[in-house]
């Protein structure tokens, strides 16, 4: 198993490297000279231009530029953000935890909800309940995140003002709050953005879990479990323990979609995370920040997939020993 972990980690490093290369290619394949648009940018100081030229070594041959660029990335130097006038690394260090909080909350709730609903559907598949829930989940899976986000915002922040409309905390009251109040305030701000992601991911997980269970239920060992005299619930547990493995794998594959969803949700709810940062950076043509976000976001996705794969491997006795 250790060998597998090492191999997967190596693959992750290779992928991060390839993403960095891709960013480099994108910048250099763009029409005109890289950063041509920045020439006239008023915020562009002489010093920053110099730094940019240094980082990308624009006066050197492409090969040298590429090596220098990768080397600086490998040192963790992502350059300076034009927009915020501080290192990209520190901008992302502020944004990433906020995104992780949102995504982790959504993922945990969505996984639990999706598995439970999928199991319920599978245990009475073909029933009215199953078909209704199947229709609901297909509908939810068809709604773009930004529309669902706007819908929830409209419903629960404007029409029924239960939850705040934007941000992570109350901008005025925050400084007067006790730690406990701050936590509650954070939770209140988290509800709508997290719910948006939960509804969409849970519907995907539920559809998948249902199918995975229906694949397992006709298996011989389920018949054995029934012949042992187990209750319906215990039999379902036998099936679920097997059918969970493909669902955990799915979670790993969902990370890119989760991240993409967060880009929209963070923008609708002004959640100060990676997605918000990226879109702001795009608007300002803040290249170092754009590329830095892409690389860091991709590394996050790769690590998420890796964690999911490791979880499956350790949950499946057939691969645990390997």
């Amino acid at each position: 198993m250790l060998g597998l972990v090492v191999r997967r980690l190596l693959v992750a490093v290779v992928i991060a490297f390839l993403v960095a290369t891709l960013s480099f290619v994108l910048v250099h394949a763009a029409p005109g000279e890289p950063f041509a648009a920045l020439r006239e940018d008023a915020r562009m100081t002489q010093e920053m231009a110099q730094r940019l030229r240094e980082q990308y070594g624009l006066d050197r041959p492409l090969g040298v530029q590429y090596v220098r660029y990768i080397a600086s990335l490998a040192r963790g130097d992502l350059g300076e953000s034009f927009l915020q006038r501080r290192p990209v690394r520190s901008v992302l260090a502020d944004a990433l935890p906020n995104s992780l909080l949102l995504m982790a909350t959504a993922l945990v709730v969505a996984f639990a909800l999706g598995v439970a609903l999928g199991a319920l559907q599978a245990s009475r598949h073909g029933s009215r309940f199953d078909r209704t829930l199947g229709g609901v989940s297909l509908t939810l899976a068809s709604v773009p995140e930004y529309l669902l986000a706007i819908g929830l915002l409209l419903a629960f922040a404007y029409l029924l003002p239960i939850f705040p409309t934007a941000g992570m905390s109350d901008p005025v009251m925050w400084r007067f709050m006790s730690p406990m109040q701050r936590l509650t305030d954070l939770a209140r701000h988290l509800v709508l953005p997290a719910t948006t992601l939960v509804l969409i991911i849970a519907s995907v997980v539920a559809r998948y879990q249902r199918a995975a269970l229906l694949d397992v239920l006709p298996d011989d060992f389920i018949r054995t479990a029934k012949a042992k005299g187990l209750s319906r619930g215990r039999v379902l547990l036998h099936a679920l323990r097997n059918a969970l493995l493909p669902t955990i794998t799915l979670i790993g594959l969902l990370f890119p979609a989760l991240f993409g969803g967060a880009v929209f949700v963070e923008n609708v709810f002004s959640w100060p995370g990676m997605g918000r940062t990226i879109v702001d950076a795009l608007g300002a043509r803040d290249y170092p920040l754009i590329i830095g976000s892409m690389v860091v976001g991709s590394i996050f996705v790769v690590v998420g997939g890796l964690v999911a794969d490791l979880a499956v491997m350790s949950a499946d006795p057939r691969t645990r020993a390997a």
């Binding site: 068809s142 890119p256 290249y287 754009i290 892409m294």
Partner: protein, 305 residues
């Protein structure tokens, strides 16, 4: 959606001897037509395509005309403007009709591009041998690791604003990785099947095996994936427009109309509701068809009764 429980262990062979019900022998389209939800979805999509094709004749107004940007802006739905007007006094119904041309053609053409590239790439990866496969699939893993919207935003932001044609290419190029993976996995399974081994034994050329023996078996899973791909492309195009990186003004797509309504969705609600509803209904229709096609292809489809 009904899954036939295996007919137990003794009689399992028997139903196979019996004549298969009509639906199994029918073409996928016939089977699809027998499902109520899929039939409704098909009708809806056909109607939508007709509207898109005949928009110049059907639209009541010029979609980019700005007759009176003071007096006629933000008019709520009325007889004259069933879907109201926007900030520039443009008729939203007409913009929706022309927007359907843009949104649907981007989605369909991008899907065709993705499917073609993905299928070819997957076939080359498997049939090209172990080393080619490893290299090509690492490449696909890389792209799959990047959220699609991020990849697109990166390209669009760095390369500047795009018109419809480049947008089709860019969206198509960002959507073929999963298809490549799917095709590769399917072909890997098929490669060990008797008919491929037999064809190889008879001395058939690799590429002719791919085209004549392997591709026909991939048709239905690829069709399912491609159909889901149309929905995904619709969502992603509207998403790009929503973030401000879609088709250029004054051209309309559903996403750009949605963007016009953003920030104004309480007072000018129709600017969000109309394109939003159109988007959800269309994507749902596409996904219902894809979902049913998958059921049919996997043999899980049985007439309800």
């Amino acid at each position: 959606m009904h899954r036939p429980t295996p007919l137990s262990y003794d009689v399992a062979g028997a139903p196979l001897d019996a004549p298969a019900p009509e639906v199994w022998r029918a073409t996928p389209f016939r089977a699809l037509w027998q499902d109520g939800a899929a039939r409704a979805a098909l009708c809806l999509l056909v109607a939508l395509l007709l509207v898109a094709v005949f928009a110049p004749w059907l639209a009541p107004y010029d979609p980019i005309a700005q007759p009176d940007i003071i007096g006629l802006k933000y008019l709520p739905p009325s007889a004259a403007h069933p879907f109201g007007t926007d900030a520039y006094s443009r008729d939203v119904l007409s913009r929706m009709m022309y927007g359907a041309r843009v949104s649907l053609s981007i989605a369909i053409l991008a899907m065709l591009l993705s499917t073609f590239i993905g299928t070819a790439y997957g076939l080359v990866a498997v049939l090209g041998g172990r080393f080619t496969d490893a290299v090509l699939m690492r490449g696909v893993d890389t792209f799959l690791a990047i959220p699609r919207i991020l990849l697109l935003l990166g390209v669009v932001a760095i390369w500047g604003d795009l018109t419809v044609k480049p947008l089709i290419v860019v969206i198509g190029l960002s959507g073929w990785f999963a298809a490549a993976r799917l095709v590769r996995t399917l072909v890997l399974g098929l490669r060990e099947r008797d008919f491929v081994i037999a064809a190889r034994g008879l001395g058939a050329h690799t590429s002719s095996i791919a085209v004549r023996h392997v591709l026909p078996h991939l048709a239905s899973p690829i069709l399912v994936a491609a159909t889901f791909g149309v929905g995904a492309a619709l969502v992603i195009e509207a998403g790009l427009s929503f973030l401000g990186y879609g088709v250029d003004e004054p051209q309309a797509s559903w996403g750009s109309i949605l963007r016009d309504g953003q920030g104004n969705f309480v007072s000018a609600w129709w600017l969000s509701v109309v394109p939003g509803a159109a988007l959800v209904i269309t994507v749902l229709a596409v996904n219902v068809i894809a979902d049913r096609l998958r059921d049919i292809a996997s043999g899980r489809h049985l007439p309800r009764g």
